[in-house]
């Protein structure tokens, strides 16, 4: 397990959920993540922007079979490490670890 480090960027509930979702997937579509955490497009965009600015998430566009553009999110190596450290800190604080 990584050393516990609290990360204020990740800790906000919406961003914590986004990181949790992306930590399990190689890539996830913006709309799928938005629906899973139950926020609006604008709130989701702000969360993603903050994670992107921190270097934790990359955003890419790809055309679907229908020809429509879809936005895909991916947790970076730095994002994965920061999330694992944050989870370790939460586990420590919760007295589970």
């Amino acid at each position: 397990m990584k050393a516990p480090v609290f990360d204020a960027v990740i800790h906000a509930p919406g961003r914590l959920q986004i990181c949790a979702l992306l930590s399990e997937a190689s890539n996830a579509e913006f709309a799928m993540v938005r629906d899973a955490i139950g926020v609006s497009d604008s709130v989701m965009s702000k969360h993603v922007k903050q994670l992107e600015d921190a270097g934790y998430v990359t955003v890419s566009k790809a055309a679907a079979a229908s020809g429509r553009q879809r936005t895909w999110l991916k947790l970076t190596a730095a994002g994965k490490t920061a999330f694992q450290r944050h989870v370790a800190e939460l586990t420590r604080l919760a007295g589970i670890g």
Binding site: A12, E24, A28, V87
Partner: protein, 154 residues
């Protein structure tokens, strides 16, 4: 930039860990959605890939190349359909199921290749059936291990 609206502004570490668990489960649910159809297509491709090795050159190479292209196409199509792409070898524990399946397929492909060289081409049919069944069982096992993995937060 203003702080985006939070879904739960004040959550305890235990509540935060629980929300992580729920989010991870949502990914597993997405992957599991219509996974039986996926398994059927995946198993069929695996069967063609294995049985095709008994065919003479260049048809055996065409079978394996075609199967690889079909696997990539299936993965892309399913990612678009579910909104999530999970590489078989990314999850820490489930990856071992994927590695084991890969090893089994290599053995089956070599056996099929040998059957073609030894003029026992009929063996390709049972080997293809075995590949079909093992691919289906392996895929279900991978999903089960992946689901269990998503339940463990730490």
């Amino acid at each position: 930039m203003t702080e985006p609206q939070q879904t739960a502004p004040h959550q305890s570490p235990a509540e935060a860990l629980d929300s992580i668990r729920r989010s991870r489960a949502a990914v597993a649910d997405r992957v599991a959605k219509n996974s039986k159809t996926y398994d059927l297509i995946y198993s069929s491709i695996a069967a063609v890939m294995v049985a095709g090795q008994a065919a003479p050159f260049p048809f055996n190479v065409m079978a394996s190349t075609g199967a690889c292209v079909a696997f990539v196409f299936l993965a892309r199509r399913w990612a678009q359909k579910t909104g999530v792409f999970v590489s078989g070898v990314t999850p820490k524990r489930a990856r071992w199921v994927a590695f084991a399946m890969g090893a089994v397929f290599v053995v089956l492909m070599l056996a099929s290749l040998w059957s073609g060289r030894a003029h026992r081409e009929w063996l390709a049919i049972p080997l293809g059936v075995v590949a079909f069944l093992l691919a289906g069982v392996g895929s279900r096992l991978w999903l089960r291990v992946f689901r269990a993995e998503t339940r463990d937060v730490a």
